[in-house]
């Protein structure tokens, strides 16, 4: 993960904020913008949370939870929201009020309790079987300023990447196809693979796609809906 720090503020105010933050008695006010950097992927409703350093909504190399699987395969964030709520996290859900379209941004404010020092984010990427954009437990800086974090696409490891129109229900094959995607996807593909031999969360290997909108092996359009990492940018202003 690449983290770029910009414009540290050296005012007495920020010194004061620092002193208070380091004494662990004060919440932080965060202003966050998530940008879909791609030109061909949609993000399902984004969930962002500040939580304790012990919490993770996913970890590379670990099996996905049922809640993560539901998000990665179908875009449902209710399960993740529940476990985060139970962990006393500070949560923002669905800042784009629906899909975050290609190249679009959504902004929101988040106030994190003093014990919720780490930030995580997840949203399914479409079209994909179980791909998601993720941030795993990024330490929120104590110093006021604006920080930029670039996010990669992960594979939940829970579903074969057949790249075919199908279901968003956990455990069911295929990709969910909400209305904006419907005219953009091909159909009648024969399927790229029916195997998912790496069942741990990993960096997504990317979609294969094909150039045939009515046949071929994939319903993904290879000249539009592939991607290179990073796929999202997170701009976090610590006030």
């Amino acid at each position: 993960m690449k983290v770029i720090k910009k414009s540290p503020i050296k005012s007495t105010l920020s010194v004061l904020a620092l002193a208070l933050a380091s004494s662990n008695t004060m919440a932080q006010d965060l202003s966050i913008t998530v940008t879909n950097l791609t030109q061909g992927l949609y993000f399902t409703p984004v969930i962002t949370a500040a939580h304790t350093s012990e919490n993770h909504i996913f970890m590379s190399g670990e099996m996905a939870s049922d809640e993560l699987q539901a998000m990665a395969e179908g875009g449902s964030i209710s399960g993740l929201s529940s476990i985060l709520t139970n962990a006393d996290a500070n949560i923002n859900e669905n800042p784009a009020a629906g899909l975050l379209a290609p190249a679009m941004s959504a902004s929101f404010d988040l106030t994190n309790d003093s014990t919720n020092t780490h930030l995580s984010l997840a949203a399914m990427i479409l079209p994909s079987n179980d791909g998601f954009v993720g941030l795993d437990s990024w330490k929120i800086p104590e110093e006021a300023g604006t920080y930029t974090v670039f996010l990669n696409a992960y594979d939940a490891g829970t579903e074969a990447n057949d790249e075919l129109r199908g279901s968003g229900a956990p455990g069911e094959a295929g990709m969910p196809v909400p209305p904006p995607l419907d005219p953009l996807l091909g159909m009648n593909g024969t399927g790229v693979t029916d195997m998912e031999s790496n069942d741990k969360v990993h960096i997504h290997r990317g979609s294969l796609g094909d150039s045939d909108m009515s046949a071929g092996i994939s319903d993904i359009n290879n000249s539009v809906q592939r991607w290179l990492n990073p796929v999202a940018k997170l701009t976090i202003t610590v006030k």
Partner: protein
Amino acid sequence: MLIFNAQNKSTKKLAKPLFIAGLLTLGLTACNDNDNETPPPVDPPTEYSYSVTLTNLTYAQPLSPVAVSLHGDAKMWQVGEAASVALEKLAEGGDSADFIALENNLATATAEGPTLPGASVTVNISTMDPQATYLTVATMLVNTNDAFSGLTGVDISTLTLNQEKSWRLNVYDSGTEKNNEAAGTIPGPADGGVGYDSTRDDIDLVGYHSGVVSKDDGLPSSVLTQAHRFDNPAVKLTITRTK
């Protein structure tokens, strides 16, 4: 929409001393409000010089002659906004003439030729303008429809003499031309086709590039081969303040 958050920063380093000196000697007021007027020659003007080195990290994507500019607080492109025509010409055809000529540029420089894979180029740029503290660099990956790399509106006002700063840059897509990789549409040596075409038949929003597919990876109508594929980052950029 091309310019974002354009504003004069009269508090940048040396801007204030110059301004005060102007007030004292000539009694001028508001002389700082106009970008196009150089401050009165009360002191020997301070020159700022930078050396910008760009390295092509790709396997087979020559980079068009790199365009470098210094300007006030503005961005020449932004993810989610439509590209300017000047950027479209650079991204589709590698032609930086209009991009360099954009009126908010306060100092400009271009490389004399393309930067081949594995090669580096250094461009020197100087300015007397204390407002010219934001950097933009742009170059096309010429074996593509409309891919470019660079950065824009980066504040370099805090660079001290001989200090350098580096970035590894990702690849943008200007969103102005479909990535069909078709014969006749790619200006680089892989095709020798048309560069700029005023028709906008893609998303018309700047975003990150999804990479080229090529005829070897499932796009039979592509003139590109596996060799033209690229990944992020594609460019390394280093700026050093030399004066």
